[in-house]
């Protein structure tokens, strides 16, 4: 499958059905990602992996525009050091990028359009309706502090262990545990409140 084929097939070719999102984890990079990585072609890597990276960033940020900003900002930095990253860990480029994305901090407040580093990474669709907009769990996740949200995403989206999450975010496993605990407690509280509110209507 060529890079063009990947793009034309769209996100589904990367993300797949339920459960397949874990196929793009650092520890289980799919064959396509590994192939383009070893090819050492930054453009090919971006073309092949962009949908999955955007999806991952979307989970992290809770916002499509922030996700696009985060991914393009990260890929710009990675691109600037592409040769070095490939040289140091050719098999782990995708892990590098995902770690950088996980550590990237973007505000939920968007930059001015047209001032992003790359203008045309995501397709920005006017009047786009986010299918998750009315999903209570998604809304509860969006309200978490960035680091707690990152811990939850790395745990449930990427299936990372506590040690892997700690290494990814540069924090201790104890902090991972406490952040996860606080996040889950908050999610339960908010979900409970949302469901109670729904029942009352």
């Amino acid at each position: 499958m060529t890079v063009v084929d990947v793009l034309q097939l769209g996100v589904r070719s990367q993300a797949g059905p339920a459960g397949s999102a874990r196929s793009v984890t650092p520890g289980a990079a799919d064959a396509r990602g590994a192939r383009v990585t070893t090819d050492g072609d930054f453009a090919a890597y971006v073309a092949a992996r962009l949908p999955a990276l955007l999806r991952f960033a979307h989970a992290l940020t809770g916002n499509r525009d922030d996700a696009a900003d985060l991914v393009q900002d990260t890929l710009l930095k990675v691109g600037l050091h592409w040769e070095r990253i490939r040289r140091d860990d050719a098999a782990g480029v995708d892990a590098y990028v995902r770690r950088a994305i996980a550590n990237g901090r973007v505000s939920r407040w968007r930059r001015r359009r047209g001032e992003t580093l790359v203008a045309d990474v995501p397709e920005r669709v006017a009047a786009h309706v986010d299918p998750l907009e009315h999903e209570p769990l998604w809304q509860a996740l969006r309200g978490l502090p960035a680091r707690q949200r990152a811990v939850i995403v790395l745990r449930y989206y990427d299936d990372l262990t506590e040690a892997e999450i700690a290494a990814t975010l540069g924090i201790s496993t104890g902090t991972v545990k406490s952040q996860a605990s606080r996040a889950m407690a908050t999610l339960r509280t908010r979900l409970g409140a949302a469901e109670a509110e729904g029942s009352a209507r």
């Binding site: 971006v46 505000s107 397709e123």
Partner: protein, 282 residues
């Protein structure tokens, strides 16, 4: 099924569903690759300028990195410095002057720029309407000089920041509706390589720099090897280790502010952050 299991399942279902999908333009990869090449060229130019500037300032007996914007009235060129061009500007040469190179122990400045708004670079609150961080506003070390942020300063109140007209994206009503404790961010610079985080309560809490033209007084700049931070700030209260993705250094004389250095996967300094120690923006 226990509550924990139920939430686990719901999270996994959410993250594996179609809702996270984002469509990508076919030209995206090529566009980004082109942008990388552009930034690489600009960074190369910036490094050249920074190297020349250090050589020039050494002649004045102090290594002080200055803003990169061309001065309104350049002094006769004792030694020229090539500045880092932005995508919309051309390469310019200018000469640093002794007075601007030695007036302030500023924690962060931008290489190759002349100061903009000298008054803000000299410290003091000066009716700027700082927030509750008087201890921040009184310290010139926390003043960012240069065109990028103009008169904006750490500790400046939201009102003052709004009045500055340098944050066109800033909306007070939006700030009030932030569902988390994160601050709002606005990007006053056209390059998108600098940003300011604010809260309604305390005004400007964080100033973030990722422009290759930015460096600290100690000489640590964006793109420098990560170990440079540790050599530059050895014995100066650095918190963190070489394996960390970020470390902090206190700003001398200002216990409520610090510098944060962030590392990218390539092992270089990716961002320099000037922030309140108690900021809750990120």
């Amino acid at each position: 099924m226990s509550g924990d299991d139920d939430l686990d399942t719901r999270l996994r279902d959410l993250f594996s569903g179609d809702g996270l999908d984002m469509r990508v333009r076919p030209t995206a990869a090529a566009g980004l690759t082109t942008r990388v090449a552009q930034v690489r060229r600009r960074r190369a130019a910036a490094r050249t300028g920074a190297a020349c500037l250090v050589a020039a300032t050494l002649g004045f007996g102090a290594v002080r990195l200055l803003p990169t914007a061309p001065p309104p009235a350049p002094a006769p060129a004792a030694s020229a410095v090539t500045t880092a061009p932005t995508p919309t500007t051309t390469v310019t040469t200018w000469t640093p002057t002794p007075s601007t190179s030695t007036t302030s122990p500023s924690a962060v400045s931008t290489t190759g720029r002349t100061p903009e708004g000298t008054s803000s670079a000299t410290g003091g609150r000066g009716g700027q309407g700082t927030g509750d961080g008087g201890e921040l506003g009184q310290d010139p070390a926390l003043t960012i000089v240069g065109r990028r942020f103009g008169s904006l300063r750490l500790g400046m109140s939201l009102d003052a920041a709004l009045a500055s007209a340098q944050l066109p994206d800033l909306d007070r009503d939006e700030l009030r509706n932030v569902p988390t404790r994160e601050c709002a961010v606005a990007v006053p610079d056209a390059t998108g390589l600098a940003s300011v985080f604010l809260s309604e309560l305390r005004g400007i809490e964080v100033m973030v720099f990722s422009d290759p033209a930015v460096a600290t007084e100690a000489g640590v700049g964006i793109g420098d090897p990560w170990p440079t931070v540790f050599s530059a700030y050895r014995g100066k209260g650095l918190v963190g280790s070489r394996s960390d993705v970020e470390v902090t250094v206190p700003v001398p004389g200002t216990p409520r502010s610090r510098l944060r250095f962030e590392r990218d996967p390539a092992g270089t300094v990716s961002r320099i952050v000037l922030e309140r120690t108690d900021q809750d923006c990120f």
